[in-house]
C-alpha cells in the first residue's frame, strides 16, 4: 500500500458548492471515506480515473446527518453514519430491515465512519476490479474484458452480467432500501431505490458526476408488514456479504431483495409471488427461496451461491413471520 497521490480537497459548504466542485475532471465526493481512501491507497483505478479532487461533503451546512420521522415517513440524511442508523430507536421501531442491515455492515469502526450515502454508492468489491496497482484493466475501468468470467468467480454474479461485467453489488443497506420501497433524493431528482443502481465505469449507481445523494426516504410500513434483513458472510461480524437478503412481508404483499448476487440489488419477484398472501412457514419459505433462484446461471465456480441465495431468501422470509 502506497502513500496517496497528491489531491486537492474541497470543503463544500453547501450542496450546490459540492455539485459545482464535482464538475471538475476526476473529482470524487467523499463522505466517510472508508471506501474511497482504500481505493486511492491501493491505486486500483487507472491514472485517468484517480481522484484528483476530493469534495468533502461533511462540511455541508445544514448537515446531511439526521434521522427523522415526519408524517409516517422515515427521512435519513445521506451523511448519517451507519452506526447511528443501527442504534436508532426510530429506525428499529418500524424499519427493522434497515436497522439490521446497518448493524451488520462491516465492523464497529467502519460503521462509526461510514455513511448511508457512501454505503449505497460504494464501488464493487470484485477482486479483479479491486486488485492493487490496477493489475486488471477490466470492463468497469473502461477495458474490454471481465476477467472473472473465465477466472476466479466464486463470489460473482449468479444472474448473468450487465455490460459484460460479472461483479456484484456489495451493499448491505441497498437490499433493505429496495425491500422497504425507499426513494433516494439526490441534488437533481428523486429516484426509486430499485432504479438507483447501475453498471457504470467505474461507479455503481445512476448518479451523474455532478450529482450527490442528499436523503433517503422510506414510507411507513403498511399494516401487518414486518421487515427483516439476513446476511451470510465468511466472518459474520466484519465481512462484505457473500449473499444478503431483505424482505418486507405482510398484508398480502411481499417485497424481497437479494444482494451480492448480481450487478445491482436483485428484486426476487418470483419469490415475492410465491410467498405473498401465504402463511409463512418453513415449507412456504423454502419454496419461495427456490423460486427466487429460478433463472440463475452459475459461472464455473459459483454454483454454490445459488443454493446460498435460495437459503437466504428462506431465512429472510422466516424472519418476517
Amino acid at each position: 500500500m502506497k502513500t496517496v497521490k497528491k489531491f486537492t480537497r474541497v470543503n463544500a459548504k453547501t450542496v450546490e458548492e459540492a455539485v459545482s466542485a464535482l464538475r471538475a475532471a476526476n473529482a470524487w465526493a467523499m463522505a466517510g471515506g472508508t471506501d474511497l481512501v482504500g481505493t486511492m491507497r491501493f491505486e486500483i483505478l487507472p491514472d485517468t480515473m484517480y481522484p484528483k479532487i476530493l469534495v468533502n461533503l461533511k462540511t455541508i451546512a445544514p448537515t446531511l446527518d439526521y434521522i427523522k420521522e415526519e408524517k409516517g415517513m422515515l427521512q435519513i440524511g445521506a451523511l448519517t453514519r451507519l452506526e447511528d442508523i443501527a442504534k436508532s430507536s426510530v429506525v428499529k421501531s418500524k424499519w427493522a430491515a434497515l436497522s439490521e442491515a446497518a448493524h451488520k455492515t462491516a465492523s464497529p469502526h467502519i460503521r462509526e465512519m461510514g455513511t448511508l450515502g457512501g454505503n449505497i454508492c460504494q464501488l464493487t468489491r470484485c477482486w479483479y476490479f479491486r486488485l492493487h496497482d490496477n493489475r486488471f484493466f477490466c470492463v468497469r475501468k473502461g477495458g474490454k474484458t471481465c476477467f472473472a468470467i473465465s477466472g476466479e468467480n466464486r463470489y460473482h454474479s449468479i444472474f448473468g452480467g450487465v455490460s459484460a461485467c460479472m461483479a456484484v453489488n456489495p451493499s448491505d443497506t441497498a437490499p433493505a432500501l429496495v425491500a422497504l420501497n425507499a426513494k433516494i433524493v439526490t441534488s437533481k431528482r428523486t429516484i426509486n431505490a430499485e432504479e438507483f443502481w447501475a453498471v457504470k465505469i467505474p461507479r455503481s449507481t445512476v448518479l451523474e458526476n455532478d450529482e450527490i445523494v442528499k436523503e433517503v426516504q422510506i414510507p411507513g410500513p403498511a399494516s401487518g408488514v414486518k421487515s427483516a434483513f439476513v446476511k451470510f458472510a465468511l466472518r459474520s461480524s466484519i465481512d462484505f456479504p457473500i449473499v444478503n437478503c431483505a424482505a418486507a412481508i405482510g398484508g398480502g404483499t411481499a417485497r424481497i431483495c437479494l444482494n451480492a448476487v448480481y450487478n445491482r440489488p436483485y428484486r426476487a419477484t418470483k419469490a415475492e409471488e410465491s410467498i405473498a398472501g401465504k402463511a409463512i412457514d418453513v415449507a412456504s419459505a423454502h419454496a419461495a427461496g427456490a423460486a427466487a433462484v429460478t433463472g440463475a446461471i452459475a459461472l464455473a465456480m459459483n454454483k454454490w451461491k445459488i443454493q446460498v441465495a435460495a437459503g437466504m431468501v428462506k431465512k429472510a422470509i422466516l424472519a418476517c413471520a
Partner: protein, 781 residues
C-alpha cells in the same frame, strides 16, 4: 553435572521446581506488559534515526515473467531520491537465504520478487519514484498446481535452475519405518483417500521492516524478526560481526519462516542501502504479509492406511506433494504413535508459488494423524479419540514398551499417561461422551447439522536447546538477565525471569530481562517459538544456580583492596564472617544464615561492595544436560476438541465451542501458557475454516492479498474457547517441561474436516473447509 544440587538426580527433567515461588504462579506481570499496555513499546517500524532515508521495493507485477526493459532513469532523477538499487547492479551482492532470493538475481521474476529498491528522503518521494519506473516484461507460463508442474508435458518453469524438469525433491524426500507391505498384509481393512490444503499466508500485523545505520566499519541493525543468531549470521558479508550491534525490537506478529527468510532479506537490503547512501535507511516491505506461502500451502496428500477391526493401525503409506512431513524431527505420526509401519514420500516442484515460509511449521505433520484418526474411526464407526488412544505410543512402540524401556530407566513417572489424561480432561470439559455421535446422525431443532471434531498430537518440542544467558547483579541489588530474545513471543521471557527468581532466590521484581541489547552475546534458544522456553530453561537454571552460589561464596569472604575509576576502594571484611556458603541461603533477595535467619543482609546491602564480582554466564548445547541419554522420546500429548453447527442452506459453519488441553510437562507461567492456547485456537480455526489466498488461473496473480479480502478470524467467529493444562512431567527440559507454543495453531488448523465429517457424514478433506465445499459435499452445488 554442572548445575546439579547435592542429592539431585542427574537428569534435569527430574529436578523439582522450587516450591512456593514464581514458577507455576498466575498473575505474574509480563516483562512486556507495561510497555504494550501503555503503548510505549517500540516496534521495528517505530525506529527512527536522524537523517534516515526510506526504501521500498519494486516487485514483479506478474506471477512469472522475464524482464525485457527496466528504465529507472526518471525515478533516479526525481528530487529527493538518493539511490535506485537495481537487480542487475554489478556492485551489489543481493542476499540469499535458504536458497531463496528476495531480490531477483536474474531477469526471471516471480510475483513478490524484487527488481529494484528505491531509496529516498520520504515514503511519499519513494512512492512517487516507484511510479516513474518503466518496466516491460515478457509473461511466462503459470502453473498453480504442484502436480500439474510434475506432468511430463508441463512447461519448464525455471530452465535456469534445471532445463529438463520441474521436479524438486523436498528436504528429506522420504521417511521409512518398519515394513509397509507387511503392515498392509496384516490389516483387516485398507483404505485410501486424498486430502488437500489451499494457499494460506502469514497475514501478519506488522509488515516486514529493517533499519540499518553505518558508522564507519560499525553497523547498527534493527531487525524485524525472531532470531538474533541467524540474523547475525546473515550479516557476515557486511561487517565484522564484532562491529555489528543487532537489535530486535518488539514484533507485531511473527513466526518461523517469515522471520527466517523474507525479513532477513529486508534487513540486509537496509544494510546495502545504508552502505550505498551513507545514511541510515529504513526498508518498508508493506506487501510482505501476503508474499509467498507456507511450506504446506497447496499441498496434496494421498493416504493408504491399513488397520485391524479393533482400531489398531498396522500401516500408513503417504505420498505427499508440497507438504513437508518427512523430516524426522517433525514427523509426528512416527514420534507419537505405536504404528509399526510407515512409509512417506514427499516431493515438490518449481511452479508458480513464490516463497516457502514455515510460519506454521509442523501443521502438515499434525494433519497426517488428524486425517488417519478421522478416516479409520469413520470406517469403523468409532470415536476418533479412541483411535488416538489405541494407537498411542512412541516411534512404533506401544506405551507398555515405553514405560518399561524409556520412562523407567530415565526416571519418569510410569503411572502418568499423557494421551489418556489430556483426552479425559478435554472430553469432560467438552462433555464429549454426551455430545459425540456417529457421523451425519444429529440434526438440531434449528435444522442445522451438529458436529464434533477432534485432533491430538505429540508435544511440539521437548528438548534442551542451544543458547546462553549471562546474569549480572548491579550495585543496587537489581539483577540483569542478559539474554537476547529468541522469539517474537514474550511469554518465554517472563518465564525466564520466574525461573531465575526461584533458582537464585531473588525477588522477581528485582529482575530485569534485557532482551533488546544485542551486544552482550547471550542468546537464548534460537529454535523458534515452539520450544523457546523448554530450549532455554536449562541454561537459565544453571546460570541462576551459578549466580546464587557465587553470591553465597562472596559474602563469606573479605573483599580485597581494589582500584575503581582511579579511586582506591578499601578492603572490607566478609558480610558473613566465619560462615561457609552452604550454611547460608537466599530468598526474596535476602541472604540469611539458615540456622539463624535473623542474621541476614539484603542483596542490595552487599551488592555495592561486590559489584565487579557478581557476574556469571552459562551456555548449553542441544545435547547438553541429557545426563547421558542419547535419544529423547515424545511422551507428552495435546488434544483439541471442537463443537460446530453446519447450516445446510448456506454451508456455513458456526463454531460453538473449542477446548484445548495441553500437557506442558511442568508449566512455568500458566497465564502465558493459556495465552498460547487461546491464540493458537483462534489462528488454527481461522485457517481451518476461512483463510485462502485465491489466484487468477490465467495470470497466477493473487487476488485477495489484503486484510479485507483475506479473512482472518475475529473474536466473534468462535463462540467459546476453554483451555486446560495437564502437567505429567514427561518432558525432557528442567522440571519435566516441554514446548507447546506452536501446537494450538497447527492442530486446530487441521480439525475442521473431522468436525464437518461428524456433522454431515461426508468427507470434506480440503482445508479450509469453506461453505462451497460443504454444499458440494451435500450435493447442493
Amino acid at each position: 553435572m554442572y548445575g546439579l544440587k547435592e542429592g539431585e538426580p542427574l537428569y534435569p527433567w527430574l529436578w523439582p521446581a522450587p516450591e512456593g515461588g514464581m514458577i507455576g504462579k498466575r498473575r505474574v506481570p509480563r516483562v512486556d506488559g507495561y510497555e504494550k499496555a501503555s503503548g510505549s513499546a517500540v516496534y521495528t517500524r517505530d525506529i527512527y534515526r536522524p537523517g534516515m532515508l526510506y526504501a521500498k521495493f519494486l516487485r514483479s507485477p506478474h506471477a512469472h515473467a522475464k524482464i525485457k526493459r527496466l528504465d529507472t532513469s526518471k525515478a533516479e532523477a526525481l528530487q529527493g531520491v538518493r539511490a535506485v538499487l537495481r537487480y542487475d547492479d554489478p556492485g551489489i551482492q543481493w542476499p540469499k537465504l535458504s536458497g531463496q532470493a528476495l531480490v531477483s538475481d536474474t531477469n526471471h521474476w516471480y510475483e513478490g520478487m524484487v527488481g529494484a529498491v528505491v531509496v529516498g528522503e520520504s515514503e511519499a518521494i519513494v512512492d512517487r519514484a516507484l511510479r516513474l519506473i518503466e518496466l516491460e516484461m515478457e509473461e511466462l507460463p503459470v502453473i498453480l498446481d504442484v502436480e500439474e508442474a510434475l506432468k511430463p508435458d508441463a512447461p519448464i518453469m525455471r530452465p535456469d535452475v534445471d532445463p529438463k524438469s520441474n521436479h524438486r525433491p523436498r528436504f528429506g524426500p522420504y521417511f521409512k519405518y518398519g515394513d509397509i507391505e507387511k503392515g498392509f498384509a496384516e490389516a483387516d481393512k485398507v483404505i485410501e483417500w486424498k486430502a488437500i490444503t489451499e494457499h494460506d499466508v502469514w497475514a501478519g500485523v506488522e509488515a516486514h521492516v529493517g533499519v540499518a545505520e553505518c558508522r564507519g566499519d560499525y553497523l547498527d541493525v534493527w531487525h524485524h524478526g525472531q532470531n538474533w543468531l541467524t540474523m547475525m549470521t546473515g550479516l557476515r558479508p557486511y561487517s565484522p560481526l564484532n562491529k555489528i550491534h543487532l537489535y530486535l525490537p518488539y514484533n507485531g506478529a511473527f513466526f518461523g519462516g517469515s522471520s527466517l527468510i523474507a525479513s532477513h532479506h529486508t534487513a540486509e537490503v537496509a544494510v546495502i542501502a545504508a552502505r550505498r547512501t551513507g545514511c541510515p535507511v529504513k526498508v518498508l516491505d508493506d506487501e510482505s504479509h501476503f508474499v509467498g506461502g507456507d511450506e504446506d500451502a497447496r499441498s496434496r496428500y494421498y493416504f493408504k492406511v491399513g488397520f485391524k477391526l479393533d482400531g489398531r493401525i498396522t500401516a500408513v503409506q503417504l505420498r505427499c506433494y508440497e507438504a513437508w512431513v518427512t523430516e524426522t524431527t517433525t514427523n509426528k505420526i512416527y514420534k507419537g504413535t505405536s504404528i509399526p509401519n510407515i512409509y512417506i514420500t514427499c516431493d515438490s516442484a518449481a511452479y508458480t508459488k513464490p516463497f516457502d515460509q514455515c510460519f506454521k511449521h509442523g501443521c502438515s505433520t499434525v494433519r497426517v494423524t488428524t486425517q488417519v484418526w478421522e478416516h479409520v474411526a469413520g470406517e469403523l464407526g468409532m470415536d476418533p479419540s479412541k483411535i488416538a488412544q489405541i494407537n498411542d505410543g512412541v516411534e512404533g512402540h506401544d506405551m507398555a514398551y515405553v514405560n518399561e524401556h524409556v520412562k523407567k530407566p530415565q526416571g519418569f513417572d510410569t503411572a502418568r499417561d499423557s494421551c489418556k489424561e489430556v483426552n479425559e480432561l478435554g472430553k469432560k470439559i467438552m462433555e464429549w461422551d454426551k455430545k459425540w455421535h456417529l457421523p451425519g446422525t444429529k440434526i438440531l431443532p434449528n435444522g442445522k447439522y451438529h458436529g464434533m471434531g477432534y485432533v491430538s498430537t505429540v508435544e511440539w518440542a521437548h528438548t534442551v536447546g542451544t543458547g546462553g544467558m549471562g546474569i549480572r547483579v548491579n550495585a543496587d541489588g537489581s539483577v540483569d538477565l542478559l539474554a537476547t530474545q529468541c522469539d517474537g513471543g514474550w511469554a518465554g521471557q517472563t518465564a525466564y525471569s520466574q525461573i531465575a527468581a526461584d533458582e537464585m532466590g531473588v525477588s522477581f521484581e528485582d529482575i530485569r530481562l534485557r532482551p533488546f541489547e544485542g551486544r552482550d552475546g547471550f542468546v537464548t534458544e534460537p529454535g523458534g517459538g515452539s520450544q523457546g522456553l523448554s530450549g532455554s530453561s536449562l541454561t537459565t537454571v544453571r546460570a541462576s544456580r551459578k549466580m546464587k552460589q557465587l553470591i553465597l561464596e562472596k559474602v563469606t569472604q573479605p573483599t580485597p583492596l581494589r582500584r575503581t575509576l582511579g579511586n582506591l576502594m578499601p578492603s572490607r571484611p566478609a558480610f558473613f564472617p566465619n560462615k561457609k556458603p552452604e550454611e547460608l541461603d537466599m530468598k526474596d533477595s535476602v541472604i540469611f544464615e539458615k540456622a539463624h535467619p535473623e542474621n541476614k543482609k539484603t542483596l542490595a546491602q552487599i551488592a555495592g561492595a561486590l559489584t565487579y564480582y557478581l557476574f556469571v554466564w552459562d551456555y548449553t548445547m542441544a545435547h547438553t544436560g541429557r545426563g547421558g541419554v542419547e535419544h529423547e522420546y515424545g511422551m507428552v500429548r495435546q488434544a483439541h476438541f471442537v463443537e460446530i453447527e453446519v447450516d445446510p442452506d448456506t454451508g456455513g459453519i458456526e463454531i460453538l465451542k473449542q477446548v484445548s488441553v495441553n500437557d506442558g510437562g511442568k508449566v512455568i507461567n500458566p497465564d502465558a501458557f493459556n495465552g498460547q492456547q487461546y491464540g493458537g485456537a483462534y489462528m488454527g480455526l481461522s485457517r481451518s475454516t476461512k483463510e485462502t489466498l485465491y489466484f487468477d488461473p490465467k495470470t497466477g496473480l493473487a487476488l485477495n492479498d489484503n486484510l479485507i479480502g483475506y479473512p482472518v478470524n475475529v473474536m466473534n467467529d468462535v463462540a467459546s474457547i476453554d483451555c486446560a493444562i495437564v502437567e505429567t512431567g514427561l518432558g525432557y527440559a528442567p522440571y519435566g517441561s516441554c514446548g507447546v507454543g506452536e501446537d494450538g495453531g497447527a492442530c486446530n488448523h487441521t480439525i475442521m474436516p473431522t468436525a464437518v465429517y461428524n456433522a454431515i457424514g461426508k468427507y470434506v478433506d480440503s482445508e479450509p473447509v469453506t461453505p462451497d465445499k460443504i454444499l458440494k459435499a451435500l450435493g447442493k452445488a
